[in-house]
Amino acid sequence: MVTLTTNHTTGVPSSLTKVVEIKNLKKSFNDRVVLNNVNLDLYERENLAVLGRSGSGKSVLIKCMVGLLRADEGDIQVLGYDVSSLSAKKLIELRLQVGFSFQGSALYDSMTVRQNLEFPLKRNLGIYDRDQLDEIVMTSLKEVGLERAIDQRPDELSGGMKKRIGIARTLILKPKIMLYDEPTSGLDPQTSEEINELILQVRDQYHTASIIITHDVSCARQVSDRVVALIDGESKLEGTFEELEAANDSNLKHFFNY
C-alpha cells in the first residue's frame, strides 16, 4: 500500500492509540478473491473512510472485523481482541463495543422505532424499567433529531430517517468504534449532507473511532480524517482526502473526476 502521508494520524493528534489493526487480510468466496492483502489501521477518535467502487470488498472488510465473516488469512485486531480466534463469549464482548450501521439500516421491521431502540437495552443491558427505557430512547432520538418518529414503524420512515434511527440504535450501547456501511447510499444530496454531519457529531460527542465504507466522494471528503482507497480488493493508497485527490492515481481518477 502506498502511504501518501508520513503521519498516519493526519488530522488527529498523534498521541492517540490504535483501536483497529488489520494486516494482510485475505477473503475469498469460492474461487473469487474479494479481499487481498488489505492493511489498515484505525486510531481512537479518528474517522477513516474506506473508498472504493461497488464490489471492491468494502462491506466484506467491516463484516470480517466484527466476525460476521471469517477471514481466510491475515490478522484483525479490534480493541485488542484477535477477531479470528475469539470464543463466542468474547466475540459478544467485542461486538458490544463496536457499533455497526448497515447499508439498508437493518431496522427490525416487526417493531416500532421505540421497540427497535429498546431492544439492545433490554437484551444487552437488562434494562426493563419503563421510565429508564423512555428516557434513554428519547435522548437517543433527540440526538438524531427524530423524536417525532418514536411510535412509527420502519416502513413508514424515509431512507434518511431509517439511517438515522439505525445509527441511534447502534449508539444506544455507547460503542467505542462505529462502522458505517455506505451511510449515504440511496439518499438525496441534502439528506446525505445531514448524515455526514451526524457522523461528525457522533465522533465529537461520543469520541468514537469510525470506519466509513463509501463510494461517495463527497461523503469521504466531508467526514474523513484519513482515507484508504480499496482497489480490486486491495488497500492501495492511504492519506488524507486532499492527498489522495492530489495523487492523480489512475485507479482513483473516476472518483475525483465527478
Binding site: I92, R95, D109, R123, T170
Partner: protein
C-alpha cells in the same frame, strides 16, 4: 450435483438441529419470548384449526354412517369417530394447518430478516439471534401443537356429535360416555407426542429454511415454499413412523 447438494443440505440441517439443542439448554434463556411466540402461534392458528376440525368431524361422521348402518352397527359411530379423531385426524389436520400457516410465516419472516440484514444486525449488537429467533419459535411450536391438537380433537368431536345427533337423536351425555370409553390413555398420550413431534418438525424446518435463505426476495419466497412443503412431507413421515411404533406397543 443434485445429490451433492442434497447431502450438503442434510449435513447443514443436522448441524442446525445440534445448534438448536445446544442453544436451548444454555443460558440466557428466552422464557419471555417463548411465551410471546406461544401466544402468536395459538392466536394465528386457532380460527383455522377450529374451522377445519369442526368440518372434519362432520364430514368423517357423515361418510362413516352409511357403512356402519349397512352392518347395523350405527351405534358404534361415536366410538369409531373418536378413535379416528384422537389417533389420527386431530393431530394430522392440526399439523397440516400449522405447517401451512406457521411454516410459511416463520420461513418468510426469518428469510426476510436474513436478506435485509436484520439477523446480522442482531448478531453484531451482541444479541444471539439463533436463540432469540429460532429457539423461541421451535420451542413454542413444539409446546403449542399438543395443546392445539387437544382443542382440535374437542372441536372435531363436537362436529361429529351434531351429525350423530341428527342421525340417531342420541343425547350428549350418551355420546360423551361412548367417546370416553373408546379412547385409551395411550391414544391421548401418543397423540400428544405425535403433535409435539409435528410442532418440532414444523419449527425446525421453517426456521432452517428462513434462517439460511439468500438471493433476496426470490430467496424469501423459496424459504416460505420449502418451509411448507418440507414440513407437510415430514408430518406424514412422522405419522407413519409413529403408527408403526404404536402398533408394536399395542
Amino acid at each position: 450435483m443434485t445429490i451433492k447438494k442434497a447431502l450438503i443440505d442434510v449435513a447443514s440441517i443436522y448441524k442446525f438441529i445440534i445448534e438448536f439443542f445446544k442453544t436451548t439448554f444454555s443460558p440466557p434463556y428466552e422464557g419471555r419470548e417463548i411465551l410471546n411466540q406461544c401466544f402468536a402461534i395459538g392466536n394465528k392458528s386457532l380460527f383455522l384449526v377450529t374451522f377445519t376440525s369442526f368440518l372434519a368431524g362432520i364430514v368423517f361422521t357423515k361418510q362413516s354412517q352409511p357403512s356402519l348402518a349397512s352392518f347395523g352397527a350405527e351405534s358404534w359411530l361415536p366410538s369409531l369417530v373418536s378413535q379416528a379423531v384422537v389417533r389420527s385426524l386431530g393431530p394430522l389436520i392440526t399439523g397440516l394447518i400449522c405447517a401451512g400457516k406457521l411454516g410459511s410465516n416463520m420461513g418468510a419472516e426469518l428469510g426476510s430478516m436474513k436478506v435485509t440484514e436484520q439477523i446480522d444486525a442482531m448478531e453484531v449488537s451482541g444479541t444471539r439471534p439463533f436463540s432469540y429467533l429460532v429457539v423461541t419459535r421451535v420451542v413454542a411450536s413444539t409446546l403449542m401443537l399438543p395443546l392445539l391438537v387437544i382443542y382440535a380433537d374437542g372441536v372435531a368431536l363436537m362436529g361429529s356429535f351434531i351429525m350423530v345427533n341428527s342421525f340417531s337423536d342420541s343425547g350428549f351425555q350418551l355420546y360423551i360416555n361412548e367417546v370416553s370409553t373408546s379412547i385409551t390413555y395411550l391414544d391421548v398420550f401418543s397423540s400428544m407426542i405425535k403433535a409435539a413431534l409435528f410442532g418440532f418438525a414444523i419449527g425446525i424446518i421453517s426456521c432452517y429454511s428462513g434462517y439460511n435463505s439468500d438471493n433476496g426476495t426470490i430467496g424469501v419466497g423459496k424459504a416460505a415454499n420449502i418451509a411448507v412443503v418440507a414440513s407437510m412431507t415430514f408430518i406424514f413421515i412422522i405419522d407413519l413412523i409413529m403408527l408403526q411404533f404404536l402398533n408394536l406397543v399395542r
